[in-house]
């Protein structure tokens, strides 16, 4: 109870600070001289507090009884060093059930130099351009739904899907009457935060991550089509308990000289095809994705490869500047070759009402009808196998965000 009060107090303090900063920022934007001052620093930030309640099954947090463990706070600073060079940094902290726990991290930081419109380079920690919305998947103000389609943007995979540390090339290439191409190519590594992982996993590293995104801006303004691909490998060690080791040895599954650690290599290839159309107040997006993940263990398990299938269709409309309803349907098959049984799929129909109360504050109400238990976490559900959880269930989300 005291922890919840502390979080509420923290949120209030940050919101008050953001309100102060927002007035400062507005005053700066209104200052004509400041807009031309190359030494001015742009400051932007947000604080989000949500509530999640499910009719059945714990989802993302201890949601059956209702949970306020749904908080995001970010603050960024960007400075134009010249009309070609920019530096920026964003601090981010969040809490979502067992994830985050208010650990403050660098969400991104970079040095950006744009040689031409068709060629720029960034170095540092940069958001991964995977699909339409991965880069802003934890930025509530940047989208209509409180929860993006979890099939393509799962918050539980945030650590290795959100950002990489390395380099990136980007640019916009005009195709004259045929529109334009926007490309992003990146490579580097991911510094994994093991706080959110199983205690048995140690020495988690990502030897490489690379990929790219190519989007075609069609001649019809607001229409873009494209695809993204990402390849990475996660290495880790899994430590067996003495009892487990004895049992596996007795069964002849472990060599006699086994020292207790299993080396794991998880190479993965992810791709997504994307389409988005934004016209006037209307927005429609659809994405289809497959993730091919292989598990290679030094002992115990044979090499296995699983392909998951993911996709969604999402629409929204700005009825007024302050009211935007949205709808989406999302589907997820953890194993595209195994689609039977409630644990083999997740169908998610979501409806959102976004209210922009003013230029710095919004409120969202969102309901989900869920069918299937894929994507649920057994550890949040008393270690009950997902195949035994309730098949049809609902989610209610209330979320408010202050931003500037």
């Amino acid at each position: 109870m005291s922890g919840r009060r502390a979080r509420c107090a923290l949120t209030f303090v940050i919101a008050s600070s953001l309100s102060f900063f927002s007035r400062t920022e507005r005053a700066r934007a209104e200052d004509d001289d400041a807009t031309s001052n190359p030494l001015s620093i742009d400051v932007h930030g947000f604080v989000s507090q949500g509530f999640i309640k499910t009719t059945e099954n714990n989802y993302l947090a201890d949601s059956k009884r209702g949970s306020f463990e749904f908080t995001e706070v970010g603050l960024n600073f960007t400075k134009n060093l010249s009309d070609r060079m920019r530096v920026g940094i964003q601090l981010f902290t969040h809490d979502l059930g067992p994830l985050g726990n208010y650990a403050t991290r660098f969400d991104w930081f970079y040095l950006d130099y744009r040689f031409f419109d068709w060629l720029g380079v960034r170095a540092g920690r940069t958001k991964l351009p995977f699909g339409l919305y991965n880069e802003t998947s934890d930025i509530d103000a940047a989208r209509v739904p409180a929860l993006l389609p979890q099939s393509v943007y799962p918050v539980s995979n945030r650590e290795y899907l959100l950002a990489q540390t390395g380099g990136e090339l980007y640019g916009d290439i005009s195709l004259a009457d045929a529109g334009a191409l926007e490309y992003r190519l990146y490579g580097g590594t991911v510094f994994y935060d093991t706080a959110d992982l199983s205690a048995a996993l140690t020495n988690v590293t990502v030897p490489y991550i690379y990929g790219g995104r190519l989007m075609w801006q069609a001649p019809l303004e607001g229409l873009q089509l494209g695809g993204s691909m990402q390849k990475l490998r996660i290495d880790a060690e899994d430590t067996l308990t003495a009892a487990q080791t004895m049992a596996y040895m007795a069964a002849g599954l472990l060599p006699p000289n086994f020292m207790g650690n299993i080396s794991l290599h998880v190479p993965a290839t992810l791709w997504v095809g994307s389409a988005e159309y934004v016209a006037h107040d209307f927005s429609l997006a659809a994405e289809y994705s497959r993730w091919i993940v292989t598990l290679e263990a030094s002992v115990l398990a044979p090499k296995t490869t699983v392909t998951s299938e993911r996709g969604y269709l999402m629409g929204s409309y700005h009825v007024t500047p302050w009211f935007t309803p949205g709808l989406y349907y999302s589907l997820f098959f953890p194993n595209a070759d195994q689609r039977h049984g409630r644990a083999a799929y997740q169908h998610d129909v979501a409806a959102t009402f976004r209210y922009d109360l003013n230029a710095y504050w919004l409120l969202k109400l969102e309901g989900h009808y869920m069918r299937g238990t894929a994507g649920l976490d057994p550890t949040l559900n008393g270690n009950v196998p997902v195949s035994s959880l309730v098949q049809d269930w609902g989610v209610l989300l209330v979320k408010t965000t202050a931003y500037f």
Partner: protein
Amino acid sequence: MRRSLPHRVRLLLLPGLVVLALVAEVGFVRAESTPDFRLIVHPDNPATSLTHDFVTDAFLKRTTRWGDGEALHAVDQRADAAVRRAFSEHVLGRSVAAVKSYWQQRIFSGRDLPPPELESDDAVASYVSKHRGALGYVSGNFKLEHVKAVALQ
């Protein structure tokens, strides 16, 4: 065996999609109204007309340079200004709210910053008159001094 979505879910989806379609139609009709703004540049800028695509790219920062290599500085107006609404609908092809959503995505992903928002036609004209690479827009009836109007192709 997988079953299709329950009847009650389909009942929820159908009116939602109908509402989206209807309000979208209203939006498209509204966008056909005559624009009431003029594009302005610095008097030393040699341009006399700009293409629709160039202006769109400039304000979405896909283009950052003029043809002669000069850095391009687009400057916007307040989100609640009538001239901003007209410009946004007619040139960018999307509402002010949709454009702000576009910039929220870029600001918080570290991609870029939006053009500065100035308070009035006077402020925009003043800014453009002081910066050779500036591109702005003002209300159709605004009296131009020390800036040059350019045609939108």
